[in-house]
Amino acid sequence: MKDAARRANLMKAHQRLVEELVQTPPARLRRGLDPRVQWILWFGLMVLALAGLVLFLGPRPGLWLDIQKPGFGIFFALVLVGGALSAWGAILSGIPGRSMAAWQKAILGFALAGLVLSPFVFFPAVAPDVDGSRLDDDWCFPLVLAVGFLPWVGLGSILARNASFRPALTGVFSGTSAFLMASGALYLCCPCWTRGHILMAHLLPVALASFATAFLGSYWFSRWMKKS
C-alpha cells in the first residue's frame, strides 16, 4: 500500500519535473562548442597573444642561436607540449564520459617530468655571460603569475560552459596550461637561463598557480551544477 502510494508520488513528481524541463528556452539546450574547437580557439588565441607579448617585451639577445641548442630547444618544446595537453585535459575533464587517452596522459606526464628535470641536465648553474645585476631577472616570478592570469581567465570562461564533475582537476589542468604557456613566453624574453632561475622564477610560479587554480576551479567550474 505504502509502496503503491510512493510509486504514484514518484510518477506525479516525474511528470511535473518533465513539464518544467520542457519549458526551457531551446537556446539553453543547444550543443556547446566541440572540445577540439574549444582547444583550437583557446590555444590559437593564447599563442597569438603570447607572441605579441614576446615582441612587446623584446626577445632575449641571441635567442635564435640559443634556442637551436638542444637543451634550450627541448625545454621550450616541453613547455608547448605540456601547455597544449594540459588545456586538452582541462577541456575533456568538463565533458561527461570523456577523458584523455592513455598516450596523451603519458606524454603529458613525460613533458611535466621533463620540464622539472631538464634544468638539471641542460641549464648551467651559473652563466658567465649573464649580467647578474640585471633587474629583469627578478621580475620573472611575478610576471609569470601576472601574464598567466588573463589566459587562465580566458580558458576558464570557456571551461565554465562545460559540465565538470571534477572541478578541482579542471582547475589544476587549466592553471598548468595557462601559467606554463606564460612562463614559456617569458622564457623567450628572459636574459638569465640558469638552472636556479629557471626552476625558481619560471617553474615554481607555475606549480604554485596550478595549486591555487585547483581551489579557485573547484568553486568556478562547479557553478554549472548550482544554476537554476
Binding site: 510509486r7 519535473l17 524541463l21 531551446p26 539546450l29 543547444r30 561527461p96
Partner: protein, 202 residues
C-alpha cells in the same frame, strides 16, 4: 508513461541486444533533436529514459525516501549538462557518467543537510532540558528567530518542521522544486542555529 521498474514496455535491458542497440540509437537521435531545439523530442527522451535512470538510482539508493530526491537531482543535472553531449558519440558513457556523479553529489549534499538538521534538533532538545522559565524564554527566542527569517525561508521551515509536510507536499504548496525547497529550508536552519546559539551564549 510508466516509471514503474516492472514495466516491460520501456525496460531497455529487456530487449535483445539488437533491440537494445536500436533503442540507444533512437535516444541518441532524440538528444540531437533536443539540441536543435525540438522540445517534443526532449519530452519523449525524458519519458523514455526515465525508467532506466530510476532503475539506476534505485539500485544504488537504499532509502526509498531518498530515491525521489536523488532521481530529481539526476534529471536536473542531466538537463544542465545536456549541451555537452556530442550526438556523434554513444550516449551510454555520457549518460552514466552524469548519473553516477549526480548521485554522488546528491547523496553527499543530503548527508550534509541531515547532519545540520540533527544539530538544530539537538539545539531544540537542549532548549527543552533546562528549567521551565528558561525553556519558555528560549521558546520565545525561537519564535522571534523564526519571525526574523526572510519570508521564503520561514515558509520552508514552517511547512517542513512545524506543519510536518513531506518535501514533495511542501514544494508543491510553494510551487517550487524540491531542491529549491531544500536550499530555502537549509538557509532557514542555518539562520535559526546562529540565532539560537547566540541566545544560549547569553
Amino acid at each position: 508513461m510508466a516509471l514503474d521498474r516492472d514495466s516491460k514496455s520501456k525496460k531497455p535491458f529487456g530487449y535483445s541486444s539488437e533491440e537494445n542497440r536500436l533503442q540507444w540509437e533512437s535516444w541518441q537521435s532524440l538528444m540531437a533533436l533536443t539540441q536543435s531545439g525540438d522540445l517534443q523530442a526532449y519530452r519523449r527522451l525524458l519519458e523514455e529514459i526515465g525508467p532506466l535512470l530510476l532503475g539506476y538510482v534505485r539500485k544504488r539508493v537504499y532509502d526509498p525516501d531518498q530515491v525521489m530526491d536523488a532521481y530529481q537531482d539526476l534529471l536536473l543535472t542531466l538537463h544542465k549538462a545536456l549541451p555537452t553531449y556530442d550526438p556523434k558519440r554513444p550516449l551510454g558513457p555520457w549518460l552514466f557518467t552524469v548519473a553516477r556523479n549526480s548521485l554522488l553529489v546528491s547523496l553527499g549534499r543530503k548527508r550534509r543537510i541531515l547532519e545540520r538538521e540533527v544539530q538544530v534538533e539537538k539545539l531544540q532538545d537542549r532548549a527543552q532540558a533546562p528549567a521551565a522559565e528558561e525553556s519558555e524564554g528560549l521558546g520565545d527566542e525561537l519564535y522571534r528567530a523564526l519571525r526574523g527569517l526572510p519570508k521564503m525561508n520561514r515558509q520552508a521551515v514552517e511547512l517542513l518542521k512545524i506543519q510536518g509536510l513531506s518535501l514533495e507536499e511542501a514544494s508543491r504548496r510553494l510551487g517550487i522544486s524540491v531542491p529549491a525547497l531544500k536550499v530555502r529550508a537549509h538557509r532557514g536552519y542555518e539562520y535559526l542555529r546562529k540565532s539560537l546559539g547566540e541566545v544560549r551564549k547569553k
